[in-house]
Symmetry: C2
Subunit: 353 residues, 2 copies
């Protein structure tokens, strides 16, 4: 059984929780809106479910609530942001703004960040390119290592996600948001919270046997997509989002599930490409529309009802959940009620069904 | 049984073949050197094996041997090259030069190309960033569609490869070069030429059954890495390398295995990031070295002899083949002897064993 909440109620609840632990009101609203947007598009491993651990980290002093997010290095088309250990949502929103400004002039803008923190689903920041008629790209170092080298046992890499958002004319935007592992760790956590088992192929144990119980997740590790290729992709994303920015990578990555105090020095990068630097933006978007329809309408395998484009299901959820409310699992609801009591704020308002 | 050839002999043979069909000497040498570099690093699906089809295409009038490769659009950090239907190697070498020049000033340079052609292995162009202490990225639309949408039967996408090259201090550079399919089509061709079967997971037929005989490759299609994720990646790479540049994508892609005359309008993109725009380049390279060693020396699964970094095996082959010569399959050797006779040039000089 799951309840539903409106985006407004969810966002207000999150903002009031952050305010209760001392976050400035404007920052609290910005983070709350982005966390709500995550749930709205179905990225339920990165939205409300993260509120209790975020609050725990803030209370433990692991987040700077009065950060000076500043540009540490800058060229015409690039910048390196020092996040000053702020909430990652604030650092990467700022990075996306700078990337768009630079792309508008130079054709592309690439902004990396160090001393950032977990910022929610990768697609949020890639999507920020869309209103500018730009293509958005986002890379991040995951906040806990769950992936060994290919053939290895020591977890030195994370799920290091990639997101790319491409604007369209009349079709939903093409938005790819993928971990370089078969499953993101947030999905494993969501399975655990819902009391469900994982499908084979998500995780293996240290003997290489399939691991199906998400409550045993710490006894094994995630599998990369395409075997050694996914290992390579995870490493490259980590080099671009972490090492290049002087952020944590490999042995330096802090497992934020087990350490709420240490500065994570999370690295992320967002890039935007101005379509107008390559030709007419409207013509480009019309070409993408045609491609989207060619793919969707192409001949299907016998048992396939519909061909989906990347981001199309999230797009549909944005509309549906906007109207019907965002589903809220009973287990998470209980945690949030306990959190509200702990912080002395009004409990989350649930939609009448 | 395979013979071996020196890089010098191979490069001279290729250059004389191109000269014999009318390519200007300087261009012939440049393409020959890049094709030889492909074989030298073990990218044997993209080197000498392509000479007969390239010559066929040139003879059929499918390549412009007197091209005017020009910048069609330009901003401080971006450019769009019109390849004028030149050999792709010439277009993308030029693109890489421009990307490096722009990155040196703006921090990043992103150069797309349209009206290009097949340019060999993706890593060649990503690697061109390394001497500049830059990170190189390369994206390309493959020259034949072998991949349907996820759940589909119509082959609207190609293997659309990604390459990324990251400089190091003392370790071999980290160079990822991967098709977004489990196997590149060039590898399928190489298997066919060697008379070998493919492993399960490379291709399926139209009923979804494994297809193992590379000679039956046209009855099926390649599988994307990570299922729907690889489908999404292939699409995104195609949008960045093809659609953005006004190059062929989806239904417009010309199958260059079956059509040697039509202008392929191949799209590719190369980007370079100047490491110095994000901090000290030497410190960065030392951090990458540490990460490489941490991964290589990490604990291994029981049956694993060694953990490899992306590009490390190619790096080893560059040294070994440089000393011992490049292996040449007997079947390809026969084709090249026939080609030499057809063009009236000296046959390929084989190393004495």
């Amino acid at each position: 059984m799951s309840s539903r909440v409106t985006t407004k109620a969810q966002s207000e609840f999150i903002a009031s929780a952050f305010s209760a632990v001392g976050m400035p009101a404007e920052d609290a609203r910005r983070v709350a809106d982005l966390m709500t947007e995550a749930d709205l598009q179905g990225s339920d491993g990165h939205g409300m479910i993260r509120l209790p651990p975020y609050i725990k980290r803030i209370k433990a002093g692991g987040i700077n609530l009065r950060p000076d997010i500043r540009i540490a290095e800058e060229r015409a088309a690039t910048a390196l942001l020092d996040g000053d250990n702020a909430m990652g949502h604030l650092v990467m929103s700022r990075a996306a703004e700078i990337a768009a400004q630079k792309a508008r002039v130079a054709g592309i803008g690439w902004v990396g960040a160090r001393l950032s923190n977990h910022a929610g689903p990768a697609s949020l920041y890639a999507r920020m390119a869309l209103p500018h008629d730009m293509i958005g790209l986002y890379f991040a170092v995951g906040n806990a290592n769950h992936l060994p080298a290919w053939g290895g046992l020591e977890m030195l890499l994370s799920t290091n996600p990639i997101a790319v958002a491409v604007p369209t004319l009349n079709e939903p935007p093409v938005v790819l948001d993928m971990a370089t592992t078969v499953a993101a760790y947030g999905k494993v956590k969501a399975k655990a919270q819902r009391g469900e088992m994982m499908p084979e192929g998500w995780m293996i144990d240290r003997l290489g046997k399939p691991l199906l119980d998400p409550k045993r997740a710490e006894e094994g590790f995630l599998l990369p997509i395409g075997g050694y290729k996914g290992y390579g992709l995870s490493l490259i994303v980590g080099l671009l989002a972490g090492t290049l920015n002087g952020a944590a990578m490999g042995r330096d990555v802090i497992d934020f599930n087990h350490d709420a105090e240490s500065v994570t020095n999370t690295g992320q990068a967002v890039a935007m490409i101005d379509i107008a630097a390559f030709g007419d933006a409207k013509e480009f978007k019309a070409r993408v529309d045609t491609l989207v329809r060619d793919l969707r309408d192409s001949e299907r395998m016998p048992d396939v009802e519909r061909i989906w484009l990347p981001g199309e299901q999230s797009h549909a959820r944005r509309s549906a959940y906007g109207l019907e409310g965002i589903p809220l699992a009973a287990t998470l609801h209980q945690l949030l009620d306990a959190l509200a009591a702990e912080l002395g704020i009004a409990p989350l308002a649930i939609l009448d069904r």
